[in-house]
C-alpha cells in the first residue's frame, strides 16, 4: 500500500505541478481571478446590498443559494451522527457516589437502580472529582463566550464573522459546559429534542425567508421582495441577510452540540468527557 500510495502521490503531484506552470503569479493584481467577477463584487456590493463586508454580501446574497445548501449539509451531518450513533438502550452497569462519604458504588443490575437524591449521585465510569478552579472559570467564561457568539452573528455584516462562525462559537460554549462539568448537566439543561428541533428550524428559517420571496413576485432568495416586512426598505437586503445568518447560527450551534454529545457518549447521552 505504501508503494502504491507513493506512485499515486507522485502522479497526481506531477499533474498538479504541471498545471501550475501556466498560473499567473501569486498575488498578481491583474490575474483573471482578481479582475473578472471580483471587480464587479467589490465595486457594487456595498451599493447594492448596503453591507460593508463584501464576503458576507456574497455569502448571503449573491451566492446565498450555495450557503443555503451548506447549512443543509450541516443539518445533514447532525442527522447522520444521530442516526448512526444514537442508542436508546440504557447501560446495564451504573456507578453511584455516596456524597457525604465519597464511597463509590458499582451496580451491575440495571433494575436495581438507586434513587438519585441528596445522598447519592449518578457518576460516570471513569469519574474523577471535578476541579473547582476549572468549574469556576468556565462558569464565568461561558456567558461571555455566548454573548461573543451573538455579537459575531449580529456583526457579521460589518466585520469578519457571521452565522456560521457565531454558531460554532455558541456550540463550543455548550461543549465547554459539558467538558468542565459533566455531560449529564448539558443533556439535562438542553434536551435532545430541543437540539433536534433547533437544527431543523435553523435551516428552515433560511429556506423559509428565501421561499417567501417567491409568492411575493420575486425569484427565490431575492430579499428585495421582503420590503413590506421590514421597517427600513433601504436596508432590506442587509436585514434579509441578518435573518438568514441567524438561522444558520441556530442550526450550526445545535448541530455542533449534537455531534459532540453523540460521539463522546457513543450515542447513549449519559456519560462522557
Amino acid at each position: 500500500m505504501k508503494f502504491f500510495g507513493f506512485v499515486v502521490v507522485c502522479l497526481v503531484g506531477g499533474l498538479l505541478l504541471y498545471g501550475t506552470a501556466d498560473f499567473p503569479d501569486w498575488g498578481d493584481p491583474d490575474s483573471p481571478a482578481s479582475t473578472h467577477l471580483s471587480d464587479i463584487y467589490i465595486e457594487h456590493a456595498f451599493e447594492q446590498t448596503q453591507v460593508p463586508n463584501i464576503v458576507t454580501a456574497i455569502l448571503a446574497d449573491y451566492r446565498g443559494f450555495d450557503t443555503m445548501f451548506e447549512t443543509a449539509v450541516i443539518f445533514c451531518a447532525g442527522l447522520a451522527c444521530f442516526l448512526l450513533l444514537r442508542d436508546f438502550k440504557e447501560r446495564k452497569e451504573r456507578f453511584y457516589r455516596h456524597v457525604p462519604t465519597g464511597v463509590i458504588l458499582h451496580v451491575k443490575n440495571s433494575k436495581k437502580a438507586l434513587r438519585v437524591g441528596r445522598d447519592f449521585e449518578h457518576i460516570d465510569k471513569d469519574w474523577i472529582p471535578s476541579d473547582l478552579i476549572i468549574k469556576t472559570v468556565c462558569r464565568i467564561l461561558i456567558p461571555f463566550i455566548q454573548i461573543y457568539a451573538l455579537y459575531v452573528v449580529a456583526h457579521g455584516d460589518f466585520s469578519p464573522g457571521g452565522g456560521f462562525q457565531g454558531g460554532v462559537i455558541f456550540g463550543s460554549s455548550l461543549i465547554l459546559l459539558a467538558i468542565s462539568y459533566d455531560l449529564k448537566i448539558l443533556v439535562r439543561r438542553i434536551k435532545e429534542k430541543v437540539l433536534g428541533i433547533c437544527a431543523a428550524a435553523g435551516v428552515l428559517v433560511y429556506v423559509g425567508i428565501a421561499a417567501i420571496c417567491m409568492p411575493m413576485g420575486k425569484s427565490f432568495l431575492d430579499y428585495s421582495a421582503l420590503e413590506m416586512f421590514v421597517f427600513d426598505p433601504h436596508h432590506v437586503r442587509a436585514l434579509g441577510m441578518l435573518g438568514v445568518e441567524i438561522g444558520v447560527g441556530i442550526a450550526v450551534a445545535a448541530v455542533m452540540a449534537i455531534i459532540y454529545i453523540n460521539i463522546v457518549s457513543e450515542g447513549r447521552h449519559d456519560e462522557g468527557l
Binding site: G5, V9, T20, I42, E43, I54, V55, I58, E266
Partner: protein, 134 residues
C-alpha cells in the same frame, strides 16, 4: 540566470508548489496509513490544502481586506476601487468548503467510534483479519 532572476520566480510560484506538497502529504496519508483516524487526519490535510489553494488565488498584492472602509463617513459610492480590496469570491467559496469538510469530519468520527464499538480496533489490517474470520 543569476540569483536576481530566480528569487522573483520562487516568490511568484512557491505558494502553489507548497500547496501541492501539502496536498500530497494528505493524499499519501489517506492511501498509505494503516490507522483509520490517521487516514482521517490525512483527509483533512488534503481538504485544507485545497482551501489554501483557493485562498492563494484570491490574494492580491497591495490590496486590503474585503471589507469596505469608511462607510459611515463617505455618503457617495464613488470612492471604491477594485484594486484596493482582495478578491472576496474565493473566501466565500472556501467558507462553504470548510463547513463541508467539518461536516464530513464529524460523520467520519462518528463512524470511527461505531467501528471501534464493534471490532475494538481501528487498524486496517486487524479489521481485515476480523472480517475474514467471519
Amino acid at each position: 540566470m543569476g540569483m536576481t532572476d530566480i528569487i522573483p520566480l520562487i516568490v511568484a510560484k512557491y505558494n502553489y508548489w507548497l500547496f501541492v506538497v501539502l496536498m500530497m502529504i494528505g493524499l499519501y496519508a489517506m492511501i498509505a496509513k494503516n490507522n483509520l483516524i490517521k487516514k482521517l487526519v490525512g483527509m483533512n490535510i488534503f481538504q485544507t490544502a485545497i482551501i489554501l489553494f483557493y485562498v492563494s488565488i484570491g490574494y492580491k498584492s497591495g490590496a486590503t481586506l474585503p471589507i469596505i472602509q469608511n462607510v459611515h463617513e463617505g455618503h457617495g459610492h464613488a470612492a471604491i476601487h477594485a484594486a484596493d480590496y482582495i478578491n472576496p469570491l474565493p473566501h466565500v467559496l472556501m467558507l462553504t468548503a470548510i463547513v463541508v469538510s467539518v461536516a464530513t469530519f464529524g460523520v467520519a468520527m462518528a463512524l470511527a467510534v461505531k467501528i471501534y464499538q464493534r471490532y475494538h480496533t481501528l487498524e486496517e489490517d486487524e479489521l481485515r483479519m476480523r472480517l475474514s474470520e467471519k
